[in-house]
Symmetry: C2
Subunit: 207 residues, 2 copies
């Protein structure tokens, strides 16, 4: 079975082995003729699929997550379905944080992703254009600009998640999973989390 | 005595009474012939002053704050000089947070301002383009997109500052002072904080 998680810039394919990260064009050129089960947050990719990959099956029709949240993105829903209990973090172009409790979604919040945050600093002033220092100390006050920015970016992730963690486990997925996971004691990285959730959608549909 | 705090977009004049917020062009047209003591973070404004306001005195020559921080902006330095002890927050195009202890600057960090943060969300996806809900609850999990964004923007300010507050007082200045102050118990708003610091610079120079 081929699964595909389509984000705002790329398609991520999973056949049970490795994950392939492809552009929309590459993804459709390689997999367009096959049966692919997918979720998609991009209107552009959705239009390309309608035109060039008619056998692909959109799993977003099958919303199975138990939640009172209005307007939850299908990618967040899939990540939540990937675990039954704990904090789910998807650290990509956005960083989404969701809380699951005994199979029920209790709510969550959104941050711009690390790249978007660094661009936001740069947009405020060219004097704030720096790469991230992922190893900045978060238990002491920054003493220069790059650290002041890196701390400003990372300390919130640690502080707000710890405030809402309540002893729960944390699973992190997405391109910046490593940077985020190292901020949180005992956080697990799982690059296949969204695909696990997609399998859950398929299973619930089939039952 | 006329004081002027020059930010990345406007000039803020203070004559001991009210504060006037003017464009660079307006400020120089009105005050260009007078003696004005100023601090400035804008290269463009600095060039305009050199050309059209020769009597203005740049207080950034007088760096008097006791700190080991490298590269502290002159506006942050002035705000810190405005208090002897406590947390200083300047919530404008950036949000800077600095810790003062018995007249000594102990360090601080930087966030993009509220407007810049909302733009960062919008840049990630048009689906994340929302105005801020300044009254979003920060003690419970958001259940829809606008709250998820507003929480993502405001919860860090509360959580990280509380973590480093250690019982200290908090003074907030800048255009978004009201929004930030309401997140922090017993925070004071002081729109003249930077000007108090500038007077301190002048006093230390004169001694």
């Amino acid at each position: 079975m081929i699964l595909c998680d389509i984000g705002n810039s790329r398609m991520h394919f999973f056949d049970g082995g490795t994950i392939k990260h492809l552009s929309y064009e590459e993804g459709i050129a390689i997999y367009g003729e096959m049966q692919v089960f997918y979720i998609c947050v991009s209107d552009r990719a959705q239009a390309m699929i309608a035109q060039s990959a008619p056998a692909w099956v959109d799993l977003s029709k099958y919303r199975v997550l138990k939640t009172a949240y209005r307007g939850l993105g299908i990618d967040r829903e899939a990540a939540c379905l990937g675990i039954g209990d704990g904090i789910v973090i998807d650290a990509g172009s956005a960083i989404t944080v969701d809380v699951m409790e005994n199979g029920i979604h209790r709510g969550g919040w959104i941050w711009p992703g690390i790249r978007a945050m660094l661009k936001a600093y740069e947009a405020v002033s060219p004097k704030l254009s720096y790469p991230l220092n992922p190893n900045v100390a978060l238990d002491q006050l920054p003493m220069e600009t790059q650290d002041a920015i890196s701390f400003g970016l990372l300390a919130p992730i640690q502080a707000v998640i710890e405030r809402f963690r309540n002893g729960k486990g944390v699973v992190v997925t997405g391109g910046d999973a490593k940077i985020v996971a190292q901020l949180l004691p005992d956080a697990q990285i799982d690059e296949t989390l969204v695909f696990k959730g997609m399998k859950q959608m398929l299973k619930d549909v089939e039952c």
